[in-house]
């Protein structure tokens, strides 16, 4: 309509708006991609943090000890009977073996610390080994047990900050009473001494600042609080003065208190813990922890620093030195953490495992599966294919949909009231857990099955009815097989949901410390048990730091189970899906 007949006004209009339309499209796509990116990133961070936390828990540091199963120790009656073997003092056997490994440790206190390398519960494991094979009595036996949880963490580098400093000179050590004097031919301690001096100065500065703050605050607080604050300020001031005094090293030595990094010198089976560092950087004083305390011109020595001060960690310098010595002697091995899978829960993190929870979960899931899937599927088939459409079925349908939205803890309350209080079923049992989880899973299964049935084209039903099949034949010969993949997927997702459920089980006593795994048999259904998510919940509350890693490990295992479940669901869907 304009200058040339070849231009189309509509096209011009469209072109004018085109750029804007494409921009809108681009904006939308960018927003979508960003959302997906954020979700993926968060997922990666989540999985990554759990994995980095949990993966170390899959390996265990184990102490390998050659124990002497002397008859008088393990078989006090001397008749080799089970009763006698049970009364044996296996812990003494373990203690003897350790004392043999560290002959220099004699003091009572030191011995008690030494026996902290393992958990006495391991004595039971040794007893079980002997009971399994009484022929071991009187012989020596290589016993493997997990190292105490803190040392395990220490060896995995997750408990303390530490480093090994380079040394150049030759080391000579001489004992003078309890105090050992160490000298190096070069100034190997200089850097360390400067560091310690600085850290002391910094600490003193911090204290002085605190004092100033407290003094300033004194004016604003009520009179009643003033004396307490004044005392605090005075205490800090005194500490600061003391620190500055010590840092000046009046006698030429800097003291190494429990508040500064620990310094350990090792040389050929000997180990010293330094207590003072000379300011010249060539000599130090300390105490013997391991060995005779005599070193002559050794050029093979290690200066090991634990930066986390002893007062702020759970393992003493002594234990660290012993552990390092054991590692050096290859008495500690790293292996796959079989305890995590072979044991049930335990108070000791190194012995705690998920076996009990896993068995509990399996038993609970068996109950849930055999109750909720058939009941759910047949309910859905009836409602979808047979039930007349009227108010009653509408009411039922609405209620089923509502049930799916009921908080799961309500099902737990129901289970407590009905199954335990009314029917008198045992508490903490997988049977009750399974019943409760079935109630929770039923709506999911019913809804998924109905959706799957609805998705079967009506033409298939008509075809079957058209050749004279009865309603039931049409449903069971044609509709149900076609809906099977959807039903399976829905059921498995429902079961996976149940597998990860904690809340309803709180109410029926499945949240408990259960040290023995339930048996994987009919009896197991009524034995006290717990399940995986509950185990995670319990461990996440554990006091020991090692439980953190185990919690993460258990989460990883649960995640793997879930992924496995879903993978099965996807596989079944692919395998049985048919096109029509």
């Amino acid at each position: 309509m304009t200058d040339s007949p070849r231009t189309f006004p509509v096209r011009e209009d469209v072109e004018r708006r085109l750029a804007k339309r494409y921009r809108a499209e681009l904006r939308f796509r960018t927003a979508g991609l960003t959302a997906i990116g954020i979700a993926v990133a968060i997922l990666c961070i989540l999985i990554g943090s759990i994995a980095s936390e949990g993966v170390p828990a899959f390996t265990a540091k184990e102490l390998v000890l050659r124990v002497e199963l002397d008859a008088d120790r393990v078989d006090p009656e001397g008749d080799g009977s089970v009763a006698s073997l049970r009364r044996g003092s296996y812990n003494r056997v373990l203690q003897d073996a350790l004392r043999e490994a560290f002959p220099g440790v004699t003091a009572r206190n030191d011995l008690r610390t030494l026996f902290g390398l393992y958990t006495p519960l391991n004595a039971t494991r040794l007893m079980d080994a002997v009971l399994d094979d009484p022929a071991l009595v009187g012989n020596s036996y290589v016993f493997t047990m997990p190292l105490a949880d803190d040392l395990d963490l220490y060896l995995k580098g997750r408990l303390v900050e530490d480093r090994t400093l380079p040394t150049a000179g030759r080391l000579t050590a001489s004992t003078d009473g309890d105090i050992v004097s160490l000298r190096s031919t070069t100034a190997d301690f200089t850097a360390l001494a400067r560091e310690i001096e600085q850290s002391m100065a910094a600490e003193a500065r911090t204290l002085e600042l605190r004092v100033e703050q407290v003094r300033l605050a004194l004016d604003q607080v009520p009179a009643a609080d003033a004396p307490r604050l004044q005392a605090e300020a005075d205490r800090h001031a005194a500490a600061a003065v003391n620190l500055r005094q010590l840092a000046r090293a009046p006698d030429g030595f800097l003291p190494l208190t429990g508040d500064v990094p620990s310094v350990i010198v090792e040389s050929g089976g000997q180990a010293f813990r330094l207590t003072q560092l000379a300011v010249d950087g060539k000599s130090a004083r300390g105490e013997v922890v391991l060995g005779s305390g005599l070193v002559e011109n050794a050029d093979d020595w290690t200066l090991y620093v634990v930066d986390t001060p002893e007062s702020r960690r759970r393992v003493s310098d002594q234990l660290i030195i012993w552990t390092r010595s054991l590692v050096e002697r290859e008495m500690i091995q790293t292996g796959f953490n079989t305890y995590l899978f072979a044991n049930a829960d335990s108070r000791e993190p190194e012995l705690a495992g998920i076996k009990g929870a896993l068995y509990g979960s399996i038993l609970t899931m068996i109950i849930t599966m055999f109750l909720s899937v058939p009941i759910g599927v047949f309910t859905a088939v009836y409602l979808e294919e047979y039930a007349p459409k009227n108010r009653v079925t509408d009411f039922i349908e609405v209620n089923i949909n509502n049930l799916a939205a009921v908080p799961s803890i309500v099902f737990g309350l129901l289970g407590l009231a009905v199954f335990i209080n009314f029917f008198g079923l045992p508490r903490s049992a997988p049977l009750v857990g399974g019943l409760v989880l079935s109630l929770m899973t039923l709506p999911t299964v019913i809804i998924a099955t109905r959706a799957a049935l609805k998705a079967v084209p009506p033409s298939i039903r008509q075809a079957a009815l058209g050749v004279g099949a009865s309603k039931t034949q049409a449903v069971f010969h044609h509709v149900l097989p076609l809906a099977a993949p959807g039903i399976l997927t829905g059921s498995i997702i429902g079961l996976a949901q149940a597998l990860g459920e904690t809340a309803p089980l709180l109410m029926i006593g499945m949240v408990a410390f259960i040290a023995d795994a339930p048996s994987l048999g009919l009896a197991g259904f009524t034995e006290p048990a717990t399940v995986m998510p509950v185990q995670i919940f319990l461990w996440s509350d554990g006091a020991e730091r090692a439980f953190e890693a185990r919690t993460a490990a258990a989460i990883l295992i649960l995640l793997a189970l879930m992924i496995g479940f879903n993978a099965v669901a996807i596989y079944l869907r692919r395998r049985f899906e048919r096109r029509w």
């Binding site: 084209p457 099949a469 048919r578 096109r579 029509w580």
Partner: protein
């Protein structure tokens, strides 16, 4: 709507009350809940011939077709009144089991709907559930015979175990016809059997219908007037739930007596 209900059906000569009647329909009405879908249809359908039901969408022709094998029973709230006799036996009777009825009245639907099973199982399903074959050999024979009658044997004889859903649309529809005739029905109902097919497949189905006519009473609902003209001997025109006109196909398509039939056929509706 009202004039459609009050005006009587126009019957061409010899189209009511002749000899060799397979289906005799008298005053059949159907309603779904409050809505009446079919008004007092009376009609005679001859044996060994093809009767076509034509009419615009929603005119009740499919509803009427579904009365023949009581498929309306499967719809909630559907009520059927009047008399519908096949070979003199009342169909529209509570005492008649629809399952038995449907074994003798085969049905072919608009969209080819083979079961997602093998070709063999598709055809063998009816005979199996009705126990028509006493052994594997007999069943094989029924399957082969049905597939031959449906003109599909040559195309599928070497792949009977392949899924029926893997066939082309036209082959699927012929498979469905084979499935319907496997139970040896007396009447075959076809509800727009070619509406989803291409012209070649349609021609094959029409040829098949023409062959099957020798042995069966075939009733076909179609939207294509040309198809009705090509395959049927009798044509019934439905409009707004009423049967407007019935007569020999040739007469309906050259000289319809009712102006609505005329307008519908010549494409002059409303």
């Amino acid at each position: 709507m009202h004039d459609a209900q009050t005006q009587p059906t126009v019957y061409h000569k010899n189209s009511l009350g002749g000899s060799d009647i397979k289906v005799e329909v008298r005053d059949v009405s159907v309603s779904y809940g409050e809505k009446q879908a079919l008004f007092n249809v009376s009609l005679d359908i001859p044996d060994k011939s093809v009767t076509a039901f034509i009419g615009p969408s929603g005119c009740g022709k499919s509803t009427f077709l579904r009365c023949m094998n009581r498929m309306n029973d499967t719809i909630d709230g559907a009520r059927v009144s009047g008399s519908l006799k096949i070979d003199g036996a009342e169909v529209n009777d509570r005492a008649v089991d629809p399952v038995v009825l449907r074994a003798s009245v085969g049905m072919v639907f608009q969209k080819p709907n083979p079961f997602p099973k093998s070709i063999y199982d598709n055809v063998a399903y009816g005979p199996r559930i009705h126990g028509l074959a006493s052994g594997r050999d007999e069943l094989d024979a029924i399957v082969e015979q049905s597939l031959r009658k449906a003109g599909l044997w040559a195309e599928v004889s070497d792949r009977l175990q392949d899924p029926g859903t893997g066939l082309s649309g036209g082959q699927q529809q012929r498979l469905v016809i084979a499935r319907a005739i496997a139970v040896n029905p007396e009447v075959i109902l076809m509800d727009e059997p070619c509406s989803a097919l291409d012209p070649i497949a349609t021609a094959k189905i029409e040829d098949l219908i023409d062959e099957l006519r020798e042995n069966y009473c075939i009733i076909i609902v179609t939207h294509s007037m040309q198809q009705a003209a090509r395959v049927s001997q009798m044509t019934a025109f439905f409009h707004m739930g009423s049967l407007i006109e019935v007569g020999p196909t040739e007469e309906i398509f050259t000289n319809p007596l009712e102006s609505r039939t005329q307008d519908y056929i010549t494409g002059r509706f409303g």
